[in-house]
Symmetry: C2
Subunit: 341 residues, 2 copies
């Protein structure tokens, strides 16, 4: 660390740090009473699209916990909305989209412009003003995850429609993925220009794919997104949920940091990732257990990271909604204490 580079950004660049930085996926969320309070007055999409509200909930966890980074409150599906898809969220079923079924549905998607994400740029500027030196992370969904949501019309168990499109009409799949790359690139550029100092790409669903399908039909598009984000001058974290079976391919997408879920060991993973920096990877369920369980698990993860540079502590998935905030406080304190802060 040095030259005013934050501990988090130094770790993303695999530089030595005085302690292990920590932030948590979904750290702004329903486990916090102050988040639920805002949410009780506004629906989820309104919160995403209103700069003051998005900024407020982004900063909430930073007021409670000495986290080493913030992540902008937003949703990976907003670029699909900007492309012209109908988007809504229901409490029970999660996101619903008007699904893409045919070529003309894909051709009707419009290219996004930076202006489509003005609300996001404004939210980021508000957050940066309040946060001072703490870096803010911007993010986007990976093209495959967005394609799955778009084709299925929401979450799915088996992603059969998305897979069949990919297998049976490779030309249309390419057309769709190309358009998604464009949208994601714009969304990321807006966030970096507004002040985000790192970005994370979430591939929430690529874990339903075989390595062959991932390599042939997904990896090239993720790589384009990641190369584009790197040209913006910020470190790129790539989180492929449940991608432990093909980490070697995730490394080939070219990120600075690979986000790992809790189903892989850090030591083994770093070997398979050829030494790339890693982020992770506490089982989020541990935060519903006792401080003793949390401390043991943190200690084991730090040991697996072998005190080497290039480790950002995180959960292996988002904070669960029943997580007691005091356990999050204990976790952040334990990561810092056990790693030498």
């Amino acid at each position: 660390m040095g030259d005013g580079l934050s501990v988090f950004l130094a770790a993303c660049r695999s530089l030595p740090t005085p302690y292990t930085p920590v932030w948590l996926m979904r750290q702004a969320g329903r486990y916090l009473p102050e988040y639920r309070e805002v949410r009780s007055r506004h629906d989820f999409l309104t919160m995403c699209r209103t700069p003051e509200l998005a900024a407020e909930v982004t900063v909430q966890p930073l007021r409670r916990f000495p986290l080493d980074a913030a992540i902008i409150f937003s949703d990976i599906l907003l670029p699909l909305q900007a492309m012209g898809m109908e988007l809504s969220f229901s409490e029970e079923e999660g996101p619903r989209l008007s699904p893409l079924r045919e070529r003309r549905d894909v051709e009707r998607l419009r290219p996004v412009e930076e202006a489509d994400f003005d609300f996001l740029a404004q939210a980021i500027r508000l957050v940066c003003r309040e946060l001072g030196d703490t870096p803010l992370i911007g993010f986007a969904g990976a093209p495959f995850t967005l394609a799955s949501y778009a084709v299925e019309g929401g979450a799915s168990r088996l992603y059969l429609r998305a897979k069949r499109l990919m297998w049976e009409d490779p030309g249309l799949w390419e057309e769709l993925m190309d358009r998604l790359v464009q949208a994601v690139e714009v969304a990321l550029a807006v966030q970096v220009r507004a002040g985000a100092r790192a970005v994370q790409i979430f591939d929430s669903w690529a874990g339903v794919l075989s390595p062959r399908d991932y390599r042939e039909r997904v990896l090239p598009y993720s790589r384009r997104v990641i190369e584009g984000a790197k040209r913006l001058g910020v470190p790129v974290i790539h989180f492929v949920h449940n991608g432990g079976g093909f980490l070697e391919l995730v490394a080939e997408t070219g990120p600075d940091v690979v986000g790992l879920d809790w189903r892989v060991g850090l030591r083994e993973a770093r070997k398979r990732l050829n030494g790339l920096a890693v982020q992770g990877n506490l089982d989020p369920a541990v935060l519903l257990s006792t401080p003793r369980t949390i401390e043991e698990a943190v200690r084991a993860i730090l040991e697996e990271a072998e005190g080497r540079p290039g480790h950002v502590f995180n959960l292996g998935h988002g904070v669960l909604k029943d997580t007691p905030p005091e356990n999050v406080a204990f976790l952040v304190e334990a990561v810092h204490r056990l790693s030498g802060r």
Copy 2:
């Protein structure tokens, strides 16, 4: 191959075979109209517990397709029922059990006896009589998967209760796992004595664990089950669904064959498994696509297996209920044709 050893059993022993043997997890199931016909007249548990019915549906797929092995129709939860737990199945929610909540619930579980599985032994004898040389596979759930079902009272999304018991009361966890090992050992012994010529251990839920939890709290019990089964003189296949993040640990349980889901590549997996025989690993969703997609995927998997001995072709998970039977016929034919039969 030689000495009358079947192609399937030879592959399990990593011996050379004239072609790649194939069977499918859940090959006896709802995708077959003749299965649905039986199921329309009997509930699921009655089918499991009535030797003639279990034998009938076990043999159904073998009448249609030249599969290289059969697997007895049964359910991994029957040993829990034999231990004294209430078990029922509902169409919507799947299995329901009276959940274990406290030490006295665990202590009330009774040791099982071979006689508890008489219905299973009878079904196996009926099947063997009909099948002739085609080997029959017996099976059981792995201790962790059974413990999860028992503690959660059914399937679960996060397995929080099971994890918390494992983390917070290791003594009670050990007590429960010991009892499950005993029950599984008896269930497997009954099946082998009745005529099963290989066994598969299903760890359907271990993929929700971190490698550390798996290694410390699960692996030793799975290893005991597998060692016991090997002493019965049959090859043991160990399928850990979604275990691609810790294949090295799955290898340490000591099976002859590791069953792989479709999220890992066979070539990479075999390296990580130190050359153990492998079974798998077609994405079951491929069977809902076209013959062309099926053939491409089969070809890719056979290439990854590199024509070496020690490959049993299978899906990476059970046959999906909407699978067209003609696609299963095409798959079996393609595996045989492309591997040299």
